[in-house]
Symmetry: C2
Subunit: 420 residues, 2 copies
């Protein structure tokens, strides 16, 4: 009897996590003879724990075909960090019961650092149980902070959104600056790593071009220097564009804007550093300031996804099935830069899960200019490779036509389970 | 001697105000034999007062060709309201001196309500002076609040951005809602009129679809009802998407978020109603909330402009030249809905400037559902017509290639002038 597959989406979603799902689903249908059913967990690993499994063959082919171009997590995601299986056995035992009951022999988990950690734990637990299962982590994070892989799917599209939005808003504030708004601040995501804020830097060609100041979490925020710079730039060019990472911290290692709320991973829920900076500039320099917080808009902006990014995300899903067919396990798939002759090329590879779990890759020093507010040529080239090409969704009635899945779960066979 | 033309951009810019400039410039070159030079004012009417005139024939044809697809105000805009010319004569006398010196016989002013008021004053002043000049106001405002015209250029593109962004972010929050964020709030522009917030409503097909709550400035914000609604919706659908106009007011007629800052027209600079609503929901209902403030991103988002909107904006510029050639004056151009057989069709017309100056067109009652939080079918149809079609810019290196004009001003002939 051929083993069934379990696939799920985890953590913060991206414009292209569904492209990875699409790649996996398409490859599954092409390789159907090697596998049993493909079950997708409703809301990530929760779907396994609650025995909420979506049989992919019951979804409409038309809607599945739209998945590659649909943002969000079409099957639901979750923020749920499993504890060590030696300490908190109940959840793992439940996973075991569900997987055994449904003959699941392939576990694909699509997420960021925390989700790779989950995949690693699941793999180790089943090994101890002597239950043969292929465990493959599929990377996904707009933060671009996973190690080993050259880049993370999701990042390129959000970087393209940020570069484009910064360029567009800069043209706006420049037009207004003579008699009105002189400062524009764009707040972007990035709790610990400045990859997203850095992406705005690709639009700068010559000194004086926006963005004038990129505020990275890797660099301590110094109020006095910042205010002096804003003043100098505005005096010189008539306006000043600031792109700020939500995760910037002051000298006391305190987030400039910490709402005090913690998510279930214990991470601070940030947001709102732009209004803090705006108030600061208005009070010290009396300039009129406009600010934007793009929040979910940036990571859901499938309408301006990067073609390279979509292709990579899709390929990862494809390759996961091929690797699984060949019994490659306990790995996270990676994107390798195999450029030659200055032309960007990439391929899919993999690395051991032990190497990636809980490691955050920050913006390297060589990517940040000495002044701390700009990115280097090398960084620009790295990002530019990942934002090339457009991959527009279809539009109906003026807005994108995205996939609408039924997400109907199969009949449960086990008693209900209360999450521990 | 043929008269020269003065054209300028005024007020808050839009994704398509440059399309109007492009339409005007293209038509000017086609009708060159009827006119002298085409001067564009640097930073709106300021360009006339300061004698900062850009001779359009000195700009590169390649860059001018990109103008149709470039956001912002390529020649600089201004927020400057001229007082009554009988009370504040100096500025008008200066306009007279500059226009006479440069043989300017055509005045095209591209802006919103305040700018139409300026055009009207200029027209009346020159008439009193006995100086023959054609004065034509070109409409432009993302707020869609000008009277007479069926809609305003700029609105359709921002509406398309808001509809698309709301759809995308809704898919995101829906994915996250089981274990994390349940509420998403998008703050959009709209000080007194809810046209922009309303545009999010076009994506709602059936009850339960986002956006669940649209907060319009036309409707008093009632905290208790709002909180009850958010709770009900979240209980029923698992998540709740709110689109809030920056200009919503409470029962005391006070903006929910007034930064205290006033622009030179005396309007409050708003922004930041989303964090206010977020704090409210978190404190009353304990849900995890995400919020975005799109600010300039929305009105600069040329990358997702509406094709209908771009075509209308461009046509307005075109027609301005044709009307001027025929000595039509003291008018604001308008867009007329000439639909037939249920198919949206439009044409360009005009109306007397006296009829438009300082009148704000709010969202009509018939466009708002009785509950005050949704739009009617009629409203949806109205908006849908204006967001149809895509008109993508070209991309180079992963981000849009927008026009870069030199904006070099001609040699001044008059003594410098200090603005009164």
């Amino acid at each position: 009897m051929k083993g069934n597959i379990f696939y799920a989406q985890s953590g913060g979603v991206t414009p292209v996590i569904n492209a990875t799902a699409a790649g996996l689903i398409d490859a599954y249908f092409r390789n159907k003879k090697y596998f049993g059913k493909l079950y997708v967990g409703r809301n990530g690993i929760l779907g396994a724990l609650k025995e909420e499994l979506i049989d992919i063959s019951t979804e409409s082919k038309t809607e599945l075909a739209l998945l590659r171009k649909t943002p969000g997590g079409a099957f639901g995601s979750c923020r749920l960090k499993l504890n060590d299986y030696r300490k908190s056995k109940a959840n793992f035992q439940r996973l075991y019961d569900v997987f055994r009951e449904h003959n699941i022999k392939y576990f694909f988990y699509n997420g960021g650092g925390d989700s790779q950690d989950t995949t690693n734990k699941v793999s180790k637990f089943f090994k101890e149980k002597g239950y043969p299962i292929v465990c493959i982590g599929l990377p996904k994070t707009i933060d671009n902070d996973l190690p080993i892989t050259d880049n993370c799917p999701g990042y390129g599209s959000v970087a393209k959104y940020i570069a484009t939005s910064t360029l567009e808003a800069s043209l706006d504030v420049k037009s207004m600056s003579e008699t009105s708004t002189k400062i524009f601040i764009l707040e972007v995501m990035g709790r610990h790593a400045g990859w997203l804020a850095a992406s705005a830097g690709v639009i700068k060609k010559v000194s004086g071009d926006p963005p004038h100041l990129i505020l990275l979490p890797e660099i301590e925020f110094k109020e006095k220097v910042f205010i002096r710079k804003v003043k100098e730039i505005t005096n010189k060019y008539g306006y000043c564009v600031v792109v700020a990472s939500e995760g910037i911290k002051n000298g006391k290692n305190k987030f400039l804007s910490d709402s005090g709320f913690r998510d279930s991973f214990g991470h601070a829920q940030l947001g709102g550093v732009a209004p803090v900076l705006s108030r600061l500039i208005t009070s010290k320099l009396k300039y009129k300031v406009h600010w934007a917080v793009s929040d979910y808009l940036q990571r859901a902006a499938r309408h301006i996804a990067s073609k390279v990014d979509v292709n990579q995300a899709y390929s990862l899903g494809n390759k996961a099935i091929i690797y699984a067919k060949n019994d490659i396990t306990d790995v996270m798939l990676t994107i390798k830069n195999i450029s030659s002759n200055g032309k960007y090329k990439w391929s899919i590879s993999y690395t051991n899960l032990d190497k990636v779990a809980n490691i955050e890759k920050k913006l390297p020093k060589k990517f940040i200019k000495k002044n701390g507010y700009e990115i280097t040529k090398q960084c620009k080239e790295y990002i530019q490779n990942l934002i090339i090409g457009e991959d527009y969704p279809a539009y109906v009635s003026g807005y994108p036509r995205y996939a609408k899945l039924k997400c109907k779960t199969i009949k449960k066979r086990l008693p209900p389970y209360k999450l521990k």
